[in-house]
Symmetry: C2
Subunit: 229 residues, 2 copies
């Protein structure tokens, strides 16, 4: 199985975590979507990471779709560790929170931070590169605080974000937070419950490849790989 | 069943079309999300339309989730008119194109046009109201052309957007296009195949309530409700 990804793409990280939980090690291909490579656009005309290519060549594009597809093809094997529960009502809650992080947290926190601090720095000017906009970074750093409070609030009555078992909701939240944590922008003093939850998910074996990740010229924040942050 | 919606929210329109295809007539409640009503935020903390409330009070928030939920609870009844096919590979293609219109077309066309031409005009200045930004409107009007070409290209080898049967992909595309068509911004001379497909879906009974819709102070473009546009 091949996974086209980018180390700062949180949606790619979510799929890497899910594959890790399923015991699958894909061949990783780093894709710079802003280059709009013709071969990549042939796989997925939308041109965004992640894109999964099955052994038989079948292409599944986009984090949301890959998550559903992996559950449909490999969910049974996971039994009670299934990432999308079978129960109708539990599915809605898992999908609601997965979508919360993949879309709302992404728009308000992880996308603007990565765009301003990473992509604009690495992209040539003709693709939109340039110096970061500090007002956008400040807004994203303020926004993350209420998301951490929301995580803490959910965990007052639950073991994991969407219920009693770990699910895609936890992996999505952790994937987006891990990207921001690499950049050193998670205020871990904001919510004790959120911090304990993140320490728990961060210590799972599936998380190790993400913690080992270092991007040339852009080392992670000191707390990033620390399990006892 | 209750549906919190907004007439210019394409995601709400997609669900209205899906419910129409299922023969379900929900109680419609128009929600102005920018007012951030406390009762609405209690139903869905993300605070966006559409939100479905089942007869028993169960809440399903967001267009993507409601589509999956309706298929899981009512899909069987539709038999070969099912909007999300059962086949694993066909599901990926339906979800890919549904996501294309709900996210990509939304970001590049329907969201900016509705924001600039409708919401900014109707919202008080303290909620972000004000005069439209013409450069954004021009960019969205340019972007829609390649989406119409893509629809036309898909239909050269298929009966409907994602395959031989009508699916959520068609309803999502039609929902987003219908919002733009209300504003008079669909260049129907761009692609003959796309126009024929839209005429076909526009003539379905489920489409009638959308075509009958008129917003006070903002009448639809002349071609909007015309089945022979």
């Amino acid at each position: 199985m091949q996974l086209y990804h980018h180390p700062f793409c949180a949606h790619s990280r979510l799929i890497r975590l899910a594959l890790g939980e399923m015991g699958i090690e894909p061949e990783l291909i780093e894709e710079h979507v802003w280059e709009r490579r013709a071969e990549f656009l042939m796989l997925d005309p939308a041109g965004i990471t992640p894109v999964l290519v099955e052994n038989d060549g079948f292409v599944v594009p986009g984090g949301d779709l890959i998550a559903e597809y992996l559950d449909e093809t490999r969910g049974d094997h996971l039994a009670d560790r299934r990432l999308l529960p079978v129960d109708l009502y539990a599915r809605v809650e898992v999908r609601r929170l997965t979508s919360w992080f993949n879309h709302k947290f992404f728009a308000e926190v992880s996308e603007p931070l990565v765009r301003e601090k990473v992509y604009k720095r690495r992209m040539p000017r003709e693709f939109g590169g340039g110096p970061p906009e500090m007002s956008i970074i400040r807004a994203a750093r303020a926004n993350i605080r209420y998301h951490l409070q929301y995580i803490g609030w959910l965990l007052k009555s639950r073991n994991w974000l969407a219920g009693e078992r770990m699910s895609y909701a936890d992996l999505a939240a952790a994937a987006h937070i891990s990207v921001v944590d690499y950049l050193g922008d998670v205020p871990w003093d904001e919510d004790e419950g959120a911090k304990i939850w993140y320490a728990r998910i961060k210590s799972r074996p599936a998380f190790r490849p993400l913690l080992a990740l270092t991007v040339a010229g852009m080392p992670p924040a000191p707390c990033y790989a620390d399990l006892d942050f």
